[in-house]
Amino acid sequence: MLNAAIEIAFVLIGAALALNLYRLLRGPDTSDRILALDTLGINAIALLVLFGINSASTAYFEAALLLALLGFVGTVALCKFLLRGDIIE
């Protein structure tokens, strides 16, 4: 049961990644692309958690934690860039 669920989940998340990619390429504005990138990061956390369950290993934990903690830095910096050009001022 668990394996089946994981398989399904992989497919679902894979589809989600594909949709992110669609938005990333489609735009139309840079802010849409940044949003897609941000979503990609969050979906990656989901993927990592899924990997962890799949392989019954805690080795993925640190990566997921870090992605949750730092993943937003890129988004924030990019948004700040759009807003002010100067991200550290």
Binding site: T39, F61, C79
Partner: protein, 114 residues
């Protein structure tokens, strides 16, 4: 690992993945930036949350491990950072959607204020 927890884990996994997908569907499908912004920041939060819960149950119910709570930390950080990104994205999008002329006027006014 007993059947109950396995079932719970399986259900949560599918649920979580589904919400992750939903969020991305929203991202892809919704008509303008601000509505699109709702999709991922919401659904993914719950999606990842469900997956993390599944993970917590999964690792807690294994023979050798104790209670696994460290998934909470991930969720915690997501909850702190998600509103910030949403906020900045919205600001950026609004900034860019405003017509160039308006913005220029606004900017000039702002610089006058300074």
């Amino acid at each position: 690992m007993n059947a109950l927890s396995e079932a719970a884990v399986a259900a949560l996994i599918v649920l979580g993945a589904l919400f992750v997908l939903l969020g991305s569907i929203g991202l892809a499908r919704l008509p303008d930036f601000l509505t699109r912004l709702h999709g991922p920041t919401k659904a993914t939060t719950l999606g990842v949350g469900a997956l993390l819960l599944a993970s917590a149950i999964f690792f807690s119910s294994r023979e050798n491990g104790g209670i696994s709570l460290h998934e909470l930390a991930i969720l915690f950080f997501l909850f702190i950072t998600a509103p910030v990104t949403a906020h900045l994205l919205a600001k950026a999008a609004l900034h860019r959607q405003a017509r160039v002329d308006d913005r220029r006027r606004q900017g000039e006014e702002a610089s006058k204020e300074l």
